[in-house]
């Protein structure tokens, strides 16, 4: 007689996708596939597994998850956990899809994070608020008595910075969704003063799986330094967008077209970096290699700009949006971003004043007046995007200076929100 040993951990370790089911799963399907969330019975116990797993935040900053967990776990008194699904990047779709397809995985992760930190208050914060999928999942879980901590849903205002950690905490506290200047960080003093753990919804879904299958399972894909998989929103040159779960370290050219239909890649979204193709075609999706090119994976937005579009025009559109999305609190961002946007718009037009290039160099070059001088990383990310655009689209700048443009298609490629809100009440 043979005994079958249950080995879910090793058996499906390398199989992707891990997070996204083929079709949205309700609680019954979720439980059939994963079983109930494996609570540890005590605060702190899960954190060691998260540390060993090497999981980093999937909201864009790639900060080690265990460190935030540990800071909040060590604090005393009332504590708060927040699932951050405010995917403010206009080109990103992965969090929205994850919340629709696998809401129970995210909610498992939120409850496990609450247990690990000893939090007694949980929030879900998204641009779409209480969607039918989320309401259904919460109702089914309540009926089954699954969730130790009740979850409050809050809708994020339609601003780029609404998902920034301190802006999120301000908004949940009833104020405008604008960043504050730390220290203290929200892990030390967050919502109404309570130590607050804010994790991206994809990060929480990974936590839910690591809690079940362990850190070794998690590390079976990815690189040693950057283990696991990540969701990516990928734009192909035909304008189609898809969300994929990619192994960290995957060759970028397996995700993005590098053929003659592609002019350049945008890696890491609107706080990301333009890369020339085919020079960048051998790069991999991991911060260790992207860093050498001044790039980072960010929240996983990858775009292949088609060769019939003008990269300079695309960059100028995006930077106009980013400048309008400054919270207007810090002088260098408030003053620098609109000027950078105007300068880039001038370069993207026919002909430009000689002075514009010197201005852009001063505002966004290596020794610029903007980077590192704001309360949040909005000026830094914007400057990174601009600097790489000026570099990659230098030939286009020369063309425009002579009143020409290489584009044969004038339709905008990169997505931006329809109306850019600019009034005071849009922040609340």
């Amino acid at each position: 007689m043979t005994t079958t040993v249950k080995e879910p951990a090793t058996r499906q370790a390398a199989a992707l996708p891990r997070l996204l089911p083929a079709a949205p799963e309700d609680l019954r399907h979720h439980l059939a596939r994963y079983g109930p969330a494996p609570y540890r019975g005590q605060a702190g116990l899960l954190i060691g597994d998260i540390e060993t797993s090497g999981l980093t935040g999937r909201g864009g900053a790639a900060f080690p998850v265990y460190r935030k967990l540990a800071i909040v776990a060590q604090a005393r008194g009332r504590k708060v956990v927040v699932a951050n699904g405010a995917e403010s990047e206009p080109a990103s779709r992965k969090d929205e899809l994850l919340l629709r397809a696998a809401p129970n995985l995210v909610l498992d992760g939120l409850q496990l994070a609450a247990e690990a930190t000893g939090a007694t208050e949980a929030h879900l914060y998204t641009h779409h608020g209480a969607t039918p999928e989320i309401l259904r999942a919460l109702a089914e879980r309540a009926a089954a008595g699954l969730d130790p901590v009740s979850v409050t849903i809050t809708q994020a205002p339609p601003r780029f910075l609404a998902g920034q950690e301190s802006a999120l905490v301000n908004h949940l506290g009833g104020g405008p969704a604008r960043p504050t200047f730390g220290p203290p960080r929200v892990t030390e003093r967050g919502l109404h003063g309570a130590p607050t753990l804010v994790q991206n919804v994809e990060t929480l879904a990974h936590i839910a799986l690591i809690a079940r299958y362990g850190p070794r399972w998690f590390r079976a894909v990815g690189t040693t330094a950057e283990p696991g998989s990540m969701l990516a929103t990928v734009y192909s040159p035909d304008g189609k967008c898809r969300v994929v779960e990619a192994e960290i370290g995957a060759p970028l050219n397996t995700l993005l077209s590098s053929g003659p239909d592609t002019r350049a890649w945008l890696v890491g979204g609107y706080h990301g970096t333009w890369l020339p193709v085919p020079q960048a075609a051998a790069l991999t999706l991991e911060n260790a290699t992207l860093k050498k090119y001044g790039a980072a994976a960010g929240a996983g937005v990858l775009a292949a700009l088609p060769s019939d579009r003008c990269g300079l025009t695309e960059a100028a559109r995006v930077v106009g949006y980013l400048a309008a999305e400054s919270a207007g609190q810090c002088g260098p961002c408030l003053n620098g971003l609109p000027r950078i946007a105007a300068g880039l718009a001038e370069l993207a037009g026919p002909g430009h004043r000689r002075q514009v290039r010197a201005d852009l160099e001063r505002w966004s070059g290596p020794q610029n007046l903007v980077e590192g001088r704001g309360a949040c990383n909005h000026p830094d990310g914007t400057v990174r995007f601009v600097r790489s655009a000026l570099l990659v689209f230098a030939p286009e700048i020369s063309l425009h200076a002579r009143g020409q443009c290489s584009a044969t298609n004038r339709r905008p490629f990169l997505p931006l929100p329809d109306g850019i809100p600019t009034s005071e009440e849009d922040w609340t």
Partner: protein, 69 residues
């Protein structure tokens, strides 16, 4: 245990660009083209300690601080 030296820090949200800091402490603070301070990230040298404290106290927005790492 010796204390780590202090450095000047600006809270960029509170700062409204009065420029008093650059006037009182030109050795460590310059202004950008919009009037906002660019502070020397290095520790405040002992001989400028008094001036640095004066600049911190004089900031109308209370945005300039002396901080230990």
């Amino acid at each position: 245990m010796p204390l780590t030296p202090e450095t000047l820090k600006v809270n960029p949200i509170d700062c409204t660009g009065h420029g008093v800091c650059a006037e009182l402490l030109p050795e460590l603070v310059s202004l950008d083209e919009w009037g906002y301070p660019i502070v020397d990230p290095r520790p405040v040298p002992p001989q400028l300690d008094r001036e640095a404290r004066r600049a911190v106290a004089a900031c109308p927005a209370l945005a300039l601080k002396l901080m230990r790492k």
